[in-house]
């Protein structure tokens, strides 16, 4: 199995070669004649927007889909991959974006699941498995304790367990599907170290992502997909983020939002000493205070799960607080109903767009009036005015460039970017003086991000106050006028955006104070 060339030489055949892969779904050409080669010991980044066909291509490679046309060659031999087991037998392993681990089991138990080592009599041989996990962990510098329970591990370590699972099955071709989506900036750095060590040990890696910075930082070669086709293959030394973005999107994209200085008027939102409990009843927000003024964007930076979700829910009336005060436009709205708060002129782009922001089974028309359906002109008394709703929807779809064949298409059938645009259109079409945007561009592609950032800045320039909550440091740096860093339920610092650096905020997000150490 491990007779693969120790060092990448051009003489050996590529470890993996996709030739002319085409995958058709009814009405959709997901992959169109794609060629891709992976040399031994190489990190090959597969870059593309959502829906560009990256995941379909990897699912073909992993045996989850059968290609309509094309061939897969592994180490110079034609491979017939009909199911994931075939791929695993060929040494191909995949680490999915969403982990497939069982929290109450240990690392070893999770790793051995499906190929359990047994002793005579069919008893599990945990010791032998644990020994191998330890060896793999040491060999690749993964630093994972085989006896630890998954539920006690951080997301970054859980990801390394997923990598061990694949290595345990003797894979030497690793597919990482959007591996950084769930990681903090520090964890991303650690992952890159792990990747380096894997490469040193002769593993070859396909790295799927839509983040340009990472590609430039880690890849040996970059292949860009757009609309199911290969647009080009390049190496980081010969390209720039800007030109990669252009390749991905097919037109010029501005990566940095143009921004004028904030005007900063009267406070529209004031939060004083707010305490909120999380789902499990433990304190999630512990004494948070801040202000958002008209015409400014306050960015709340923080790693997911440090109380931002609960904070936003408490401010928008979706969660009761245990102490403290929320004032919007000089009205005390602590624990008011969501409707009372919305009616004050608050727009809310929720963190979970498919669960809270949209009714997926509703057509676009209904989603666009989700919180105004009971008002003129959409309703007369209790009667809905479908005509008004339809023309309203047609207008917004055009104005906000929602790509949909019709306003009657169900929200579930739109791409993530277009779903988000439906929400933005709905919230921005109401008169609002405070916008609360939680993770507004999570999982969106470059083009959508550019658009939504532009719209948020526009709202600010119309003198709305904006509370932007994001775990994407880039987003906070690009948009915020002031940056509040949230860590373990507290706001550890509020910094003026122009006088702070990415690194400084990144450290604060990890709970480290640059000058004084831990607070």
């Amino acid at each position: 199995m491990s007779t693969i060339a120790e060092s990448p030489t051009t003489a050996t055949p590529p470890v993996l070669e996709l030739r002319g892969i085409t995958k058709r779904f009814p009405g959709v050409l997901a992959n169109d004649n794609i060629d891709l080669t992976l040399e031994a010991g190489e990190i090959h980044a597969l870059l593309g927007e959502n829906g560009a066909g990256k995941t379909t291509l990897m699912n073909v490679l992993y045996g989850l889909y059968e290609p309509s046309e094309g061939e897969i060659w592994v180490r110079g031999q034609r491979a017939g991959i009909r199911e994931p087991n075939d791929a695993i037998d060929l040494g191909i392993g995949m680490v999915h974006q969403h982990f497939m681990l069982i929290p109450p089991l240990t690392v070893t138990e999770n790793v051995m699941l499906g190929i359990e080592e047994t002793r005579a009599g069919g008893f599990l041989d945990r010791e032998r498995a644990a020994q191998r996990v330890r060896e793999i962990s040491e060999q690749y510098g993964l630093e994972v304790d085989p006896e630890a329970y998954i539920r006690d591990l951080s997301v970054g370590v859980q990801q390394r367990v997923e990598i061990i699972k694949v290595l345990y099955r003797d894979a030497d071709i690793l597919i990482l599907d959007e591996p950084t989506a769930v990681l903090t900036p520090q964890e991303v750095e650690e992952l890159f170290d792990v990747i380096d060590s894997l490469i040193e040990q002769g593993i070859s890696i396909i790295f799927i992502t839509h983040k340009l910075k990472e590609v430039m930082a880690v890849a040996d070669r970059i292949t860009v997909l757009r609309n199911g086709r290969v647009v080009g293959t390049t190496i980081p030394e010969e390209t720039t983020e800007q030109s990669l973005a252009t390749m991905m999107v097919g037109r010029e994209v501005s990566l940095v939002a143009e921004k004028s200085p904030a005007r900063g008027g009267e406070p529209v939102l004031a939060v004083e000493n707010l305490h909120v409990l999380g789902d499990q009843g433990s304190p999630a927000v512990q004494g948070v205070s801040f202000e958002v003024r008209a015409g400014e964007i306050l960015g709340v930076a923080g790693v997911q799960g440090n109380g931002q979700t609960e904070l936003v829910e408490a401010v928008t009336g979706l969660r009761k607080s245990v102490a403290g005060r929320v004032t919007i436009l000089d009205r005390d709205v602590t624990d008011s109903s969501p409707r009372a708060i919305l009616e004050l002129g608050v727009g809310h782009i929720p963190e979970n767009r498919t669960r809270d922001g949209l009714v997926l089974s509703y057509p676009v028309v209904n989603n666009l009036v989700l919180n105004t359906y009971y008002k003129q002109p959409f309703a007369h008394g209790i009667r809905l005015n479908e005509k008004e709703m339809t023309s309203h929807a047609s207008k917004l779809v055009k104005e906000f460039d929602v790509r949909t064949p019709s306003v009657w298409v169900e929200a579930a059938n739109l791409s993530g970017g277009n779903q988000q645009k439906v929400i933005v259109a709905r919230e921005f079409s109401r008169p609002i003086s405070l916008l609360i945007a939680a993770q507004p561009t999570r999982g969106l592609d470059v083009g959508s991000i550019e658009y939504i950032h532009g719209r948020i800045l526009e709202k600010r320039d119309e003198d709305s106050g904006v509370l932007l909550v994001s775990s994407e440091l880039d987003e906070i740096m690009a948009l915020a006028d002031r940056i509040a860093v949230m860590y373990r339920g507290r706001i550890v610092d509020v910094l003026p955006a122009e006088a702070t650096t990415r690194e400084e905020v990144g450290l604060l997000m990890a709970g480290i104070r640059p000058e004084e150490g831990m607070s």
């Binding site: 009814p26 959709v28 927007e49 959502n50 829906g51 560009a52 757009r226 609309n227 199911g228 999107v249 097919g250 037109r251 928008t316 979706l318 109903s337 969501p338 409707r339 009372a340 809310h348 929720p350 979970n352 669960r355 809270d356 922001g357 949209l358 009714v359 997926l360 089974s361 509703y362 209904n366 989700l370 919180n371 359906y373 009971y374 209790i382 009667r383 479908e386 005509k387 339809t390 023309s391 047609s394 779809v397 055009k398 790509r403 949909t404 064949p405 019709s406 306003v407 009657w408 298409v409 579930a412 059938n413 739109l414 791409s415 970017g417 277009n418 592609d445 083009g447 959508s448 658009y451």
Partner: protein, 426 residues
């Protein structure tokens, strides 16, 4: 995508009749699949009929000596059974035509009435089913599983009967509507209790409605054997006054068809209008489709639970009301043969859509009415009908089976049906 360009230049708002641009294949499938389910159920039912006929089974033992005979007997047995089912539920179209002819020529309506009796019975059996399954369907739309339709219809019947015999001296034009309203209101209150409990305490409506069913059943038992017992008779209430009757259309006791049927159709139309054309219905459907999104949008979920349960209970109550005011004219033990429970299956069968629910209720009402005839004419046990009903529900609930049997391609999974790909790409 060529479609995208049409969306860019949206013409002036489509008229309100603007049916969503739907996939024709999908529409065809929604109609085709239930029909195939019914057909498949009838085929399997035929097999059951054959194997439950001892005479035919005896012929099969000698199958290889005389295969033709066994097959002929099977065919005859099935034809006899389904023929009797038809005759019992729909009647003979020829006789109806002849009946009309006689009536037209001689003015003698007796033949016509006789010929229409089976159809009338089917419609009579359908009425409570329509009401009760509308009740369950409305609950489903709000994400509520109202298993309490049975109890609610008993309470509705109870209230209507009481108003029917205890309130005297009113003209029909007031008394009948009053009795109807009483039934709806009583059902609404009975169902609003679980709705309120859910909104207030989170008590699951499946549990509470089942409990309420038992309370209703025992309450009715006690009342009809105690305070409301008809003097000189056991386990039934007094007859309601004629001023509270839902009008019937024939004096012939074989034709019990009554105005409740039109009331049921009106209720279906109302439910459609309410669910799809009003803000209240919009809220109820939103709460049902996505409670999180409903809450985010500022809808009051608790209130919607109470409103939806109340309305659902009113409809279920009317099922009982229509039955006492239109058919039995009193309330007795064993009043409902399980309308409330059948209605759960019917709401599913009708995909919780008022039109679908009416069709499903018609189908089951027809089967139920025909079953009696099938038993008496063809000596086929009524249980065959229960088997047929179960098979139909099973096949409708598991469309994958029907797709597999008839090799119908699967619907495209909703999540994968992405119309727009990429951004700014042509």
């Amino acid at each position: 995508m060529s479609q995208a360009s049409t969306a860019d230049q949206v013409p002036p708002p489509a008229p309100s009749s603007a049916a969503p641009e739907r996939d024709w294949a999908a529409t065809l499938q929604t109609v085709l699949l239930p029909l195939l389910a019914i057909f498949t159920a009838l085929v399997i039912g035929a097999i059951v009929i054959v194997v439950s006929d001892p005479e035919v089974l005896r012929l099969y033992r000698g199958f290889f000596d005389a295969p033709g005979e066994a097959l002929r007997a099977s065919a005859a047995s099935v034809t006899r059974a389904y023929g009797a089912l038809m005759a019992g539920s729909i009647g003979s179209p020829g006789e109806v035509v002849r009946g009309f002819a006689t009536w037209g020529q001689t003015g003698d309506g007796a033949a016509l009435v006789t010929s229409l009796a089976p159809l009338s019975e089917s419609l009579v059996a359908t009425v409570p089913l329509i009401f009760a399954s509308l009740a369950v369907a409305l609950g489903f739309r709000c994400g509520l599983f109202n298993i309490g339709a049975e109890g609610q219809l008993l309470i509705g019947a109870l209230a209507s009967v009481w108003v029917g015999y205890a309130v005297t001296g009113l003209p029909w034009i007031i008394h009948m509507p009053l009795a109807v309203l009483a039934g709806a209101l009583a059902g609404a209150i009975w169902a609003a209790i679980p709705g309120y409990l859910k909104a207030r305490t989170g008590a699951h409506e499946v549990i509470t409605t089942i409990m309420m069913n038992w309370i209703a059943i025992r309450l009715v038992d006690w009342l009809i054997n105690g305070p409301m017992e008809r003097p000189g008779a056991a386990a039934k209430t007094r007859e309601i006054l004629a001023t509270s009757y839902l009008p019937q259309f024939s004096s012939d006791p074989r034709v019990r068809f009554h105005a409740g049927f039109f009331l049921a159709l009106a209720a279906a139309a109302f439910v459609y209008w309410f669910l799809f054309k009003t803000t209240w219905g919009f809220e109820i459907r939103t709460v049902g489709a996505s409670p999180d999104a409903a809450e985010y949008s500022g809808m009051n979920i608790s209130r919607n639970f109470v409103v939806a349960m109340g309305l659902s209970g009113a409809l279920a109550g009317l099922a009982g009301t229509a039955q006492v005011l239109g058919v039995t004219h009193f309330l007795a033990a064993g009043f409902s043969p399980g309308f409330g429970f059948d209605s759960i299956a019917l709401a599913l069968l009708g995909k919780s859509h008022p039109a679908g629910v009416v069709l499903a209720a018609l189908l089951f009402g027809t089967l139920r009415a025909g079953a009696t005839k099938m038993q008496s004419l063809a000596q086929i046990p009524v249980d065959i009908i229960a088997i047929l009903q179960a098979l139909i529900i099973m096949f409708v609930a598991a469309p994958a089976m029907i797709r597999w049997i008839y090799r119908i391609g699967a619907e495209r999974a909703v999540g994968e049906q992405v119309f727009t790909r990429g951004w700014g790409a042509s």
